[in-house]
Symmetry: C2
Subunit: 484 residues, 2 copies
Amino acid sequence: MAKVALNTPKGTRDFLPQQAARRNYIFDTIRGVFDTYGFAPIETPAMELTETLMGKYGEEGDRLIFKILNSGNYPEKYPFDKERSIKALSRINSVKGKKTNVFLMDLIQSEVERVDVANYDVALNKFNYAISEKALRYDLTVPFARFVVQHQNELSFPFKRYQIQPVWRADRPQKGRYREFYQCDVDMIGSNSLLNEVELTQIIADVFTKLGLPDVSIKINNRKILQGISEVIGEPDKLIDITVALDKLDKIGREKVEAELASKGIGVEAISKLGVLFENVSLESVSNFVATSEVGLKGIEELKTVLDSAEKLDVSICEFDPTLARGLNYYTGAIFEVTHPDFPSSICGGGRYDDLTGIFGLKDVSGVGVSFGADRIYDLLLDKDLFPAQVGLSAQVMFVNFGEKEAAQCQLWAKKLRAAGIRTEVYPDAAKMKKQMKYANDKSIPYVLLVGDREIEAQQPTVKNMETGDQNAMSIVKLIEILS
Amino acid sequence: MAKVALNTPKGTRDFLPQQAARRNYIFDTIRGVFDTYGFAPIETPAMELTETLMGKYGEEGDRLIFKILNSGNYPEKYPFDKERSIKALSRINSVKGKKTNVFLMDLIQSEVERVDVANYDVALNKFNYAISEKALRYDLTVPFARFVVQHQNELSFPFKRYQIQPVWRADRPQKGRYREFYQCDVDMIGSNSLLNEVELTQIIADVFTKLGLPDVSIKINNRKILQGISEVIGEPDKLIDITVALDKLDKIGREKVEAELASKGIGVEAISKLGVLFENVSLESVSNFVATSEVGLKGIEELKTVLDSAEKLDVSICEFDPTLARGLNYYTGAIFEVTHPDFPSSICGGGRYDDLTGIFGLKDVSGVGVSFGADRIYDLLLDKDLFPAQVGLSAQVMFVNFGEKEAAQCQLWAKKLRAAGIRTEVYPDAAKMKKQMKYANDKSIPYVLLVGDREIEAQQPTVKNMETGDQNAMSIVKLIEILS
């Protein structure tokens, strides 16, 4: 057998038992909170039709979508003459220093010489489609929009759903950025009520409290306030540019943001007006700032309602941030971002969008939702040593195997322990004691049970506490009591 | 915006809330049982390197692997002259009645004319690799083998893992066969002990008992018995052919199996000897049949050990089946298959394999495992109406929304209910009562809470039981008591 590279593709990862268990703990915690608020799970396929995804994430996004080759392997499938093919395809070998995938382009290029006419984009699309009509989902939002429109007659609106699934992006991998990662999205669609925004703050607070991170901040802004600001500075049409620039304030600083604004054609006067906000960003000062903008005041009002209601429900971690814009430009109302003082990037974010399903032909359906970044939360919990000790403990109890007769007794007792929900292993081979103890130790199994002739006769195993080293005879009933 | 097809790709599915919740119930049940036996979860990426997967599933399997295009979209990425490209690519349009993907082949074909020499397979591989170096996993077994070899120094052996993840196959979709489906695999690797086989019968029994399907059968066979049989009939080299044919006995009947055996060059005498087994397949008769084969008797001994131990542990659903062979030919010892009288195909299966990791260079590691077919189990539970009623109930309680003031009180009470783990919704809008009640009804929410002035004053909501229609004032404490 030829030697094979033992690796996962670039930017993807295996999860070993402890990592997988810890990730499951995060997913289960998030899912548990979503459940208590009456959100229901849905799932969509890993693949979507290419046309469903393309054009929804901007040019950059389109490039980062993983495309799946149509079934069958072209060269294998196509019934062309083998002898001639041998000659043709082998040419790849002879092109020194040239990337092999350029070969395909050479072919297309040579074809270019021979033909005629028509529309480049149509042809290009057709060509792409000929190779690939399916793609891996890039996020959960667009598939969700497709899902809502496709199944609108099977759903109860307002529709509350959550979705915890992986997404794939052909991004350049780097620390903390992967090509496969999970998103945990929760959305309420088909209701304009601000109650939904309030509920999301509660959900965020519950999730992070349960994960041992009560010290997160929920930064809140409202797109309407940003709109008001751009009106007041006399640049109502530059909302997107202003939003995009403001979003970078934390990362690149005020000066560079101002430079970016200028480069977008925003006047010196407008920029200097905006400056006030960089200095004093209290809700009061912003209220005053947008006092002449109707939409701006509406945004302030919405924001206040959400903050007040959240406060009354003991969600005390919300914080107005008028520079919060987030890159995505489909938010129309509330904007959320959750940060932790010990983590450089946001660990959850979202907002209100008024026309998510419009791209698939269903107009005027408003929704609001947030997405939890499971991978970042994982890194943060690991960093702060906040995973509960029992998470990732595969077994609580292990029976040492002294031989056939003893193992038979162990199996009977193990059955009782398991019936009581206690995670129990019987070491499968009558290996050397040292080897079995090492195994228990490596897996941090807290109790090891020794069963020899004496224990069988007395009908109780000897229980070794692996932390203290203490050994005591103990009935199975008693052991169940202790471990339950 | 152009009109977009509202569909998932052929052979893939969305899961609506109730379906998703029911699937989660199956996964959680299976996962819960795996946990009590001390198995630990792992995850591998959806994508593997193409070379990791190719050649592991036979020719047919290779064709059914979904390949992922290397990042970037070739025509877009390649810096060729736009004007000339326009002409070339548009030719696709002018080829009437010709499938568009043939275009690519035409290009290769034309290139074929121009070049020279060498090895077809190498060139073909290079070409394939130039287009696609990653592929979607086809099963969990090969990625698991890759995982074990890659991480061998990070794992404790014997290694007990489970893995519940989707796999993808470019199969022709049909009823009950999808292009994306989940596998739930549990394997113990690095131990020859038959205790593992016994444990798997316990796990199978536990899973199906918990799912309300105690009437499954675990059919058990042993590859060594099959080997013994082929020795006894004088065709020791035809083991695979005999195995493949025997595997079809249930589906195509004895006559066709015999015809297939003959077509594989197995003699008339040998086939007629085999006939005894079709008539009397008791463990005793098979024992006698293979009495002259050492390996056959070893198989009988292993099988008896597993059956006896399972029996002692109250697993009473095991059943010897000497015609059980399963298609895959890497099993070396025990072979399992779980069936249910009301379902046409197996719902779980697996066996002992002695050289799974050999393909990745780690020799002599024995393993044994089974895979649960979640999609089939889903169909069976649905058919027999065995999903617990509460599975898929997104909320247990819904507050009707009469307005801002009332909703504020509802939110406070909802907070208490949720803190007690009760899945609670507050209807977000002060919509018409009829609309809100319809929503609760459509979602089968069992209790609807009405909160008006009177209820706020008395500090207890009116609780409407949606099944009986009864309405009673009730304190939140009392309601929690009832629902917990």
